[in-house]
Amino acid sequence: MPQQYLNKGNKPTKSGFGEGLLEAGRLNPEVFCIGADITASVDCNLFAEAFPQRFISLGIAEQNCVGVAAGLALEGKIPVFSTYGVFAALRSADQIRISVCYNNLHVIIGGAHAGVSVGPDGATHQALEDIGIMRVLPNMTVLSPCDATQTSLAIVAAIEQCRGPVYLRFGREAMPDFTSAAMGFEIGKAQVLRTGNDVSIIATGHMVWEALLAAEILAAVGIDARVINMHTIKPIDRETIIRAATETRAIVTAEEHQVNTGLGSAVAEVAVQHHPVPMAFVGMPDCFGESGPPLKLMEKYGLTAEAIAEKAKKMVKW
């Protein structure tokens, strides 16, 4: 593992979201937060306690939450509405499409509980389709940071760098926190965490850490893997993808999301138009998750460093 990406200790990305939101609330008096009953579960309680006047409780009514956010944004506020990604992206998809995206309003939607690593709650609460649904909406920016430190930077960036709608995805389970704030966070600019010229691993969210581990496995057998943290799914960093396609022999994508419509599809859409290259996809194979310990579930569905390394080996031989 390159020295600069050592795990500082496991931490849920949602903690980063909560800390970043608190910071953003301090920096910008126009930031509002909308609660849909699971305020503490999505770590918005820090903001709610610090800025009770700017916290609006709306109960278990996601469609209304999104519409209210649109109304606040029309009046110049910067509303952040966070709930589980399955509810945010799916139940209120029409409100997001029309009231937020068609009106092109600066509303930030936090999609918590991303991926099977949600664990025991099971399939109903594991967001596996949210990237696909959010990224097809015009005007929408889709962020999927890789660890708690980066999620904290991402929410601040969503508030300070964006003008239109943003969907920000994060997880529940404590996972390696390995990036530094000094790396910064530029929306739309992927981070090459490791250079390499045999194969490129383009990963997002929790899978970025697995990609770094996969590169170690590959290095041991003489394969030089490039690791790219695609923290912005939309607008996607075409330049970095095209460079990976041109300079390495294959691309493996890795995400805790359905392979259909997810990061893999987004990367393929770019690669196939500019420099077609063999590709393999690590992600959910068009199925629902289930209850179980987070890491066991990731293992079962092939969301591990080993699975990434296996696919990468096959691609390089191909």
Binding site: N64, G67, G71, E75, Q95, I98, S99, N103
Partner: protein, 284 residues
């Protein structure tokens, strides 16, 4: 009230007739769209824009303006005609309705830059939530403008409306006035046959709203209802305005088949004659 606005019911009736004529003309020219609801709402839009709303057509984004949120985007023709006759844009532009490149989209779209348009909308059941957000922002900023939110009765079958209704009273939004176009009709027929809404007033009341009912085609009653709604404190107010779909043209009145239909050019000429005849004979 601004100098160019009026409380004179006779003058307002004439303006409503003018707006009706523009609705008919623009829809006939467009060749598709929603005539019935647009005609039924002409009196309410007239009273709002020409008497009750605090707004400046020459400064559409004036921060102190009252906001009008049209949740039922399909009756855009009556909003467009009212905005044009208020001076937001040239009346001739109404003839571009629904045409390629027009600022007058089939359902309102802000991205096309039409002055006076607060919200892009057309998917039913969303506008009340947006109005709640705007009302919350006004409360937070201690501003005195009001938010008027226009809804259809069929639209109230959407569950999201009642989520928003709950939120408005929970947060004591007395700066929010919802107006329901209670014409009793929707595309499939009578609301009470498709999915009954009654007792409608009781529903709003039990959600914590102050309920006012009126004849939504009677200028005096509409004005009185809006005044009463603006006096309510501590809770939001809803005006259930009983209207006649297609109001002003006898042969299409209360005919749900005219919800999503437009007149031919020949019919339009005939409809406009009827509107003119009736206003001359003060039948409105």
């Amino acid at each position: 009230m601004h100098p160019w606005q009026t409380e004179d019911t006779g003058a307002l009736r004439h303006i409503a007739a003018t707006i009706r004529k523009s609705v008919v003309t623009s829809l006939a020219e467009a060749g598709s769209g929603h005539l019935g609801g647009s005609l039924g709402l002409a009196d309410i839009f007239t009273v709002l824009y020409f008497s009750k709303l605090n707004h400046h057509p020459d400064d559409p984004a004036w921060p102190g303006r009252d906001r009008l949120i049209l949740s039922i985007g399909h009756v855009a023709p009556v909003l467009y005609a009212t905005l044009a006759h208020s001076g937001y844009f040239p009346v001739e532009e109404l003839l571009t309705l629904r045409k390629m490149g027009s600022r007058l989209q089939g359902h309102p779209g802000r991205d096309h830059g039409l002055p006076g348009l607060e919200l892009s909308a057309g998917s039913l059941g969303q506008g009340l939530s947006v109005s709640v957000g705007m009302a919350l922002a006004a409360k937070y900023d201690r501003k005195n403008h009001r938010i008027f939110s226009i809804h259809g009765d069929g639209e109230l079958q959407e569950g999201s409306i009642w989520e928003a209704a709950m939120a408005a009273s929970h947060h004591h939004l007395d700066n929010l006035v919802a107006i329901v176009d209670r014409n009793g009709l929707q595309i499939d027929g009578k609301t009470e046959d498709v999915m009954g809404l009654e007792p409608l007033g009781n529903k709003w009341q039990s959600f914590g709203w102050h309920v006012i009912e009126c004849d939504g085609n009677d200028i005096g009653q509409i004005a009185g209802a809006i005044d009463a709604a603006c006096l309510v404190s501590g809770k939001p107010a809803v005006i259930i305005a009983r209207t006649v779909m297609g109001k002003g043209i006898v042969r299409i009145e209360n005919d749900y088949r005219w919800h999503g239909k437009v007149p031919s050019r020949e019919e339009a000429v005939e409809f406009i004659k009827e509107i003119e005849y009736r206003i001359l004979n003060t039948e409105f």
